[in-house]
Subunit: 377 residues, 4 copies
């Protein structure tokens, strides 16, 4: 693991997610750019001192010298955005599979470069768009893909948060600090942090691709340096239209990411706050509630749950699904088998590139007087 | 009553709403442009045959000749949009108070003219933006107005329907027929029919005014002549931004109009599907559920309910609140008293003019390559 | 109307319910046992002074002398329980149809007597168990009756209120006063006031009859003279079992009456707080949400709604459904036609007798050391 | 770990729960009474072959011989009920801490014996009443304990399931098999399996103890040997009353355990289906929604969550909270420190004894003609 030392948020989540199904063991790490903090974090995590490194460069250098059966296999990178590309590049170049937190890189340019490197490496790459790991999100995607809803016409996706309603970066809120700092986050704030999740969820569930967008991007809180709010009109490659809303200043909102997709015959609706239910609406008959853990849901939904229906599976389980599927594919590769389609259903390099293109173009649109901007990668 | 003959939908709703609290009596009508149908409808409603008229022109002509104590006092106009202006004009000119279904007129030009006529008439005018009649919508407006949420930053309003997912106007669906016909509806379909409700609700609850907009307006169903879908980015006069979504092709949706307004310290959320609850969210403390019929809600909310908390009040009661408040004001006027502020809280001519401006400008924006269009009246 | 003068609650509800669909006109009344109060109430309601009576005895005496076409046809009795039997008896004896508020009488003895009188009178009788008027309650009953859920096994019904959490009858709360007074209410408090509603709803939806019960009946608030809380184990005539819970001391609860009925293959769940949805659960497939105003619900549900799906219909509309169906039957009788089955679906004398038997036996069980008591009428 | 081999359900849940926070490592096991199956299960779990034992007796015998730093410290017992007492006894006698699945033993007699053994052993003991591990259940308990709701008057607890609606034990459903078999489950079916959870939750949240009960216990599905349904009237030691409902034949229900507790001033409501919300109702002011992961909830709720508000924590996290608190206490003991009160808040031997007393007495009551039975331990 690279990053995720004491005080970090997402690093701990990655560790739980990886270990939850017993498919990974944490063996080494460079947990901080501060060597002492890295050491201290490694101790707390119970690692062998010699495998707690002072930097990711040292990690790659020394792990490579270990015998193959001891050597780390998968590198999780959970640093702020400006320290995504270089460790990912080194990991792939040095023959490690990579799990990388989103957004993929600091810039689209880096993303395109990383795509080349990943392709050349032959290694597997997972980008942690967590929400696609929920069983009922997978059920939604499968329902759309089945054609039962008919041609898709409308996509609404939203991610309202309220935690940046005040100038939190003025104090000692570490999460607020780096996420609102252009030197660490890149050109986007809310759009990079949560807008990319909403964008990815929209494309994942609908099975469509955005082709045009028109954005209203705002800095609401005085003194903030990056956007904390935005709304985007979308056009998709089949002619459908949509709306994406992401904000960090909706005071009182938690993390209630929600998606609705409508086709000719019906629609699906999912929100994180009721993560184990998928509402399926029909034009001429009663709406249905599809539930995690039941026997009637798709193989994709069934594969990604652990407990009988009614025992809620949450965010950590969704996150763990990404790690588990990634591990199942790596294992199948090692055994020379074709991974099952359900296992291959995790976000990767293409999702990362599209996410970075979204960031660049949504910010450009926000600054533009032109209504529609073509979405291109 | 003008319009609302057999087969009409909204006419029956107006009649129930008017009678629900016993403040109105239906005494005369011109229920259809077809004299025979008007007569038949009047019979069914139990009116004296001599006060069932063949046309609204006849109604005004003959009612004026009646002694004052017999003469109708309030004219309800529930015809399609293209027959709003003329009967409203005649009613006001002839000294009657007017209740008019929305949108106010066929065009903005007519609306501006009607505003002048209404001002000159000294008569009261109510436009039936029903949703503002719900007790919990009033509670939301009062909470915003109280300043407890702080400065308003964000407004999300949506009105998803699914009933026009197919080419209904190809058959004998009378409602679909006129609502998708430019000759009867005007330049807008969904935007006029339900977009104006959403627009009005946004301005009503937030207490703000839209100053700019950027619209994506679509005809989704093949062969349709007016828009059946749209999404609009909004800017408000205090610097807040917002999103308005209205669609008639969200298959499986009913009439779930919903609004969310966020300020610096918290937000309010209301939707018609759970009409007797107002969710009030706070930045640093638990969300609250304000409920119709309780003792702790604002005087505006209390005044507009009839039953103890927990006995749901619905759409007809919300509609009746408009009629009741209108009657209370007329009665106070007659008695030479100042109507209470709670009674005066019904939508009128200004809301009608702004609604027609919304229709004109949202359609213009939909056709424009320019991103933002100034909203002016 | 008998009772329902100024300050009364349920009288106003009856008046709105009766008038809502335009099928009734209020023509006369004895609104209070206090003649002056009766007069004043009648004035406010706009009645002819000569038809506002000082007592119900006077009402029956004088109305009978009127020509048939002027004479009142239906008597609504909305007095406290101890003034139910005598006016109902006189009304039926004098040839009027009767709408009576629940519980039917002061004692089971009176109820049995009234049954005989009603049978002999040939007049129609409606007991206002309002909750059976909701479209989705009717949908639930029809679904059970259709056999789709299989044999019914389990019935849970509950009516939690909180309004008597304090000793309200110690102050000037008129509603609390008579409802907790044995001289006006009878032997039961909560069990008579809301327990009978729950009992009726359970039998109505399940289509079953209670055969045994075992009750825990409590007076929770110090100084109260009648029960304010209770829970009852039930056995039904097909072998199913159930639980009935009714309380007036669940602080914070409004009027959230709720029922769940389970059969071999699935179950139905309805609660007043979400009155326009019926949750239908299935053993092996997704739960469905049946909604008021849709095209796919039963003829009984469709007949009892007025507005398109998504526009909520509430308590007053449910109440109005009772009055409307009663009027439709009376009208059919007058026209010598067979009323449609949907019209005949209103609660009557049998429901009243069973409700009074419930009161007597549930209170007896509460006092008994014996576990199960046979439910007999 | 003892039990939890291939095909078992709860064993896998225990393993995830234990490992989720990184506080436990699985080092040895006797996963099945079938030695080969135990070996195979151990292999799959990646254990050293020499620490996968053929029986729990062998496990205790051999682990004791290992040096203290290698030896297992905590024994998880996840076998069917009839194999709870003996391994728990041996574990405690041999100096191991014990985590035991509920219900604690096969009979009350065994439970009382185990209590003595546990007391004598000086070892820690945890009984996995999972639902008490949810942050919002802890919040509910703390709110009641704070006195803000006033004296508790009413407790409703329910656990509806539908999975035994058919004669599942007639097929190869292993879970249905042992849970309906008196030789493996004991004298109770549903009452032991889920009734004990409901009973424990009621006492945990209310802070009260049951003193009397009156039960209706049923076998609904033909051919079944143990109860699959029941409802129980309860009396508590402060005079409050309550109802407990537990059923396995509510077709269409999943595992929606729910509790409501009302005091003089308000009530709390929690259900597993919306596990991260606690509804707090007040007599005279708006209901509140307390949420997992927020800053305003009690220290007990905060301590038992991992992710920011809005990222749902589910059943596995609730289960993990039991394991984590148990580990924190053991660690504190080892370090000679007093464990924090929040850590000590896990269910133990007393809860187990009361659960077994509940089973014995609820079944006795079900068979009795006497109404109330004293609840004694």
């Amino acid at each position: 693991m690279i990053g995720g030392g004491q005080g970090a948020f997402i690093g701990a989540v990655h560790r739980i997610a990886a270990q939850l199904d017993g498919a990974y063991e944490l063996v080494c790490g460079a947990f901080s750019s501060n060597p002492e903090k890295s050491k201290a974090s490694g101790m707390l995590l119970g690692l062998s001192p010699e495998r707690v490194y002072s930097s990711y460069q040292e990690l790659f250098g020394k792990e490579q010298l270990l015998p193959e059966e001891e050597r780390v296999q998968v590198i999780s990178i959970v640093t702020p955005n400006h320290v995504h590309f270089e460790p990912a590049r080194l990991a792939l170049r040095n023959g490690f599979h990579v799990v990388l937190d989103k957004p993929m890189t600091f810039s689209l340019e880096e993303a395109l470069e990383l795509r080349k490197i990943a392709a050349a490496s032959g290694k597997r790459f997972c980008l942690t768009h967590t929400y696609t790991g929920y069983p009922m999100v997978k059920e939604a995607r499968q329902l759309v893909a089945s054609g039962k809803l008919g041609k898709i016409r409308k996509v609404y996706v939203e991610y309202p948060q309220g935690w940046l309603s005040r100038f939190e970066e003025g104090g000692d809120n570490k999460q607020a600090g780096w996420r609102t700092d252009p030197d660490q986050s890149g050109i986007a704030g809310a759009m990079g942090d949560i807008g990319t999740h909403a964008f990815n969820l929209a494309e994942y569930v609908s099975g469509l691709q955005v082709t045009k967008l028109c954005a209203d991007i705002n800095i609401v809180v005085e003194g903030r340096r990056l956007d904390d709010d935005g709304a985007v009109l979308l056009k998709f490659n089949n002619g459908a239209s949509g709306v994406l809303m992401a904000t960090q200043v909706a005071a009182g909102e938690e993390n209630n990411i929600k998606i609705r997709v409508y086709g000719e015959h019906g629609g699906v609706e999912w929100q994180q706050q009721d993560a184990n239910s998928l509402l399926v609406k029909w034009l001429d008959r009663p709406a249905e509630i599809h539930r995690t853990g039941t026997g009637y849901v798709s193989s994709y939904a069934q594969h990604n749950s652990r407990t009988p229906a009614g025992h809620p599976e949450g965010y950590l389980e969704a996150f763990a699904n990404l790690y588990r599927n990634f591990a199942l594919c790596i294992k199948a590769d090692l055994e020379g088998k074709e991974p099952q389609p359900e296992w291959q259903d995790y976000p990767g390099i293409e999702e990362g590139v599209r996410g970075m293109a979204f960031i660049e173009q949504v910010i450009a649109s926000g600054r533009s007087e032109q209504k529609w901007i073509d979405f291109t990668v």
